[in-house]
Amino acid sequence: MMTMAQAQAGAQAIHAKTYATDMEVNARVDKQADAIASTADSQQANVLATTDTDVQASAHSGTHHAADEQAIIEVRNVSFCYPGAEVNTLQDVSLRITRGDFVAVIGSNGSGKSTLCKCLNGLIPTYYSGDFEGKVLVNGIDTSSTTIAQLSKHVAYVFQDFENQLVRPTVFDELCFAPLNFGYENYKERAQQALRMLDIEELSTQWIWQLSGGQKHMVALAAALALDPEVIIVDEPVAQLDPAHARLIYEKLAMLNDTYHKTIIVIEHHTEYIADFCKNVILLDQGGRVRWSKPVDAALSAIEELQELHIQPPQVTQAMAALQLRDPATQLYPVTIEHAAQLLQPLPGQQLIQPEHSASSPPEPLNIENSSDSSDRKALVIIDNATSGYQSMNKQHTATLRDINLTIYEGDRIALVGNNGAGKSTLLRLIAGIRKPWSGSVNVCGNDTRSTTPEQLSDAVSFIFQNPEEMFIADHIREDIEFFLKARKQEQIEPFINHIIDTFNLSELQQRDGRLLSGGQQRRATLAIGLAMKPTVMLLDEPTASLDIVSRREMTMLFDELHEQVQAIVVATHDMQLVADWATRVIVMHNGEILLDGRSEEVFQQPHLLELAALIPPQIVQLGHRLQWQQPALSVEQFVKRMKQLTLLTSAGPSPTR
């Protein structure tokens, strides 16, 4: 057995070396290099305390450090104000992005990330006529003195809303569209080339509407590649995708960066992807200021700063920060699982750190009675051998759900997981009564859905759609929230509605149309609408897709608060952290069937199941696997607690033999 400090010291040698190569790639700022040199003796040197000066520092080091590093994008003192807006969305932004970089732009909702990217492809100032000051140079071209079309040959932009940027009916048409518009005679070869680069040639003749979300995103990326741009900007690639598809997109981006030397810029909330794939990070403050621009590991270990701006650092970084475990070479917290595992893993020849459940580190109490011993709890939803599906274009009936048997009990908090198209939405729709089973039956709170209208079922069930905009049917949010109760002519609803609006922090937004809110606000509004229906069973389709960390926590806290009214919650989700630290029961779906119905750790212990359902466990669970824990911790808190117990154990025990 060994102590933390020894583990740290052991890993130092390995890391000093790997870090040196990192250094070359990332061209770290001088200041940090100094800090690194002095870390061996000075534990206090804190690299994390870097400030705004960093931006200048990196620009500075860029020019005199490495002559071969050309800036492909230069933003000089740019301020921008949308027409009609009162405050600037961007405020005096200066940036420099080098050729071949892979940069993540992060910042909380409303910090001007998308606006910044629209400055880079020329939509601002050419298309949006707001107040624009400063200068943007792309490949040496001043964006204000050229056309968007001209810039498109250098910068490609993949919108977050990938559905609406695909304008042609088939994949191949879509890829030909831009090269054709620019009059390239070889537009077909260009389209073919783009398909080949992303290895999606088999999609070529498909209709756009038949594609899954992940495929659509891939096509949008391919369409951008068809013009062979040097810079590719991707706006929130993982927001709408299942984890496996998100990873695939990032792998393709990394490949484009490596093999084709494209400069990649992503706007991203999910820091674990940034840690694994990006090289540098630009942090935007509220009000569109650049706070700093740093290499990825320095950026993501600035935990307090990120959390202050509602950005969730990678789970491993959070855990390591809680344990105060820094990389001895850099004084930074590790940001990838790999790195963290190396720091935690003992040297060869020593014993593995193995938590002993029986003795002193019992896992968090889990609501085991919820999944196994359900006999004494009330069954709210009984699905008996139900099959349902769609009719496809060739008139065949395609079952998206087959012979589903499922009972949902009072007190269940179910996470419904699986790849896109596994049948999650169809199952929710069956329970909500807006889809009837072809065969079998669905019984919700005593009503057979086949003989009950959705209106009648809505007294017991509320269903939150995946797309919030489809739920805004009244003139403003407040009216939307009242809709259900007013339709039932209930009296004295004011206090209740006010309470709901307050809890969801919507009082300032209540008179606005839901469509005009930001993604996170829209999500909160739809949750408020759902809860104002006082449902017994609540169904949510992808509720955390565009929520930042704070809203996400608020949401799960509200669920807990409401347990008296809402007796069961079913959430279809790709959010594995939600699965790990909120759900009491997990249902894994694949191909219209239920593969597993059990507790979170059961799911995370079955790799083949995860692969089938396109799931990737949360980082903290993966780290547990890497450390060969038999029962991995499911949340950062659990992990930290267990590690602390371990260190106590080991330091109290006999000293290790070396």
């Binding site: 498109s152 009059g183 509407w209 065949q396 395609t398 809505s458």
Partner: protein, 276 residues
């Protein structure tokens, strides 16, 4: 992987659901890439269609109209139109014929007048069947390119193709909005007149959120079009030429026109000989 379920027989109400209408529309638009008519150049088809859409108005000879009808009915059959479209057509024609019969009886015209008025029904039948035959055989892409090559503005011809591209999304969204109303609303007691009024009211008001959402989603589309060089292309005649270079009128097309012309000539000849 798709699992087919041959056992399931949809009920009548399932058949006319919004989702079903979507499937039928898509089938009409894109489903038939290999019908007889789809082999010809879209411009030839449009010219052919123009003839059958316009000339019936000026023909009063039932023999000629019947001659047209036979040929077009056969072509319609080969283009495998969706039942839904035919159903809409049948409802239109039956109500039209019934109304004429009622009117002629009310005004004392008797069956003779109705027989005379049936010429109009025949004309309508020829024109609608011609529309169905041509438009189910020609996918929106070819239609849009055909229009472009005939000198329509690029915005218009793009709009045709884009409209069809958005159709499935819009229908799905409409369906969801409809359910948003239903899942929060309260319906009257089942199977009453009020229920009918309620359903009708919902199906109309659900369009408002749809229109607002569409207005919003268009923003991305317009920006995307700008980036993809759509406006740039409109000022470049070279692009149009490049885009339409695949449209070629071949011997096959000419043969089709020739056969059509011959058939029309024969029908006109027969029409001048016979009288109905």
């Amino acid at each position: 992987m798709e699992i087919t379920n041959p056992v399931h027989k949809p009920g009548f109400w399932e058949k006319i659901s919004v989702e079903r209408i979507k499937v039928e529309l898509l089938r009409t638009a894109y489903g038939q890439s290999m019908t007889f008519l789809s082999r010809f150049d879209p411009r030839i088809l449009m010219a052919w269609y123009a003839f059958f859409a316009i000339t019936p108005w000026f023909i009063h000879n039932k023999v000629i109209l019947l001659g047209f009808l036979i040929a077009i009915a056969i072509l319609t059959y080969t283009s495998k139109p969706s039942l839904l479209v035919l159903l809409v057509l049948a409802i239109g024609l039956i109500s039209d014929a019934a109304y004429m019969l009622v009117v002629s009886l009310m005004f004392g015209g008797g069956l003779a007048a109705a027989w005379a008025l049936s010429t109009l029904t025949l004309k309508l039948l020829v024109i609608t069947l011609a529309s169905i035959a041509v438009f189910t055989s020609m996918d929106p892409e070819r239609l849009s390119d055909g229009l472009l090559s005939l000198g329509m503005p690029a915005q218009f011809s793009f709009g045709v193709a884009y409209g069809f591209r958005m159709l499935p999304i819009l229908i799905e969204e409409y369906n969801n909005i409809l359910y948003s109303y239903r899942l929060r609303g309260k319906s009257p007691q089942k199977k009453s007149l009020r229920m009918l009024i309620y359903s009708f009211k919902l199906s109309v008001i659900a369009f408002y959120p749809l229109i607002l959402n569409t207005a919003k989603r268009t923003r991305t589309t317009v920006e995307a079009l700008e980036i993809k060089g759509f406006t740039y292309a409109m000022h470049d005649p070279k692009v149009k030429k490049l885009k339409l270079s695949y449209l070629k009128i071949t011997l096959k097309d000419l043969a089709f026109l020739a056969v059509s012309a011959l058939y029309i000539a024969v029908v006109f000849y027969l029409g001048s000989m016979l009288e109905l």
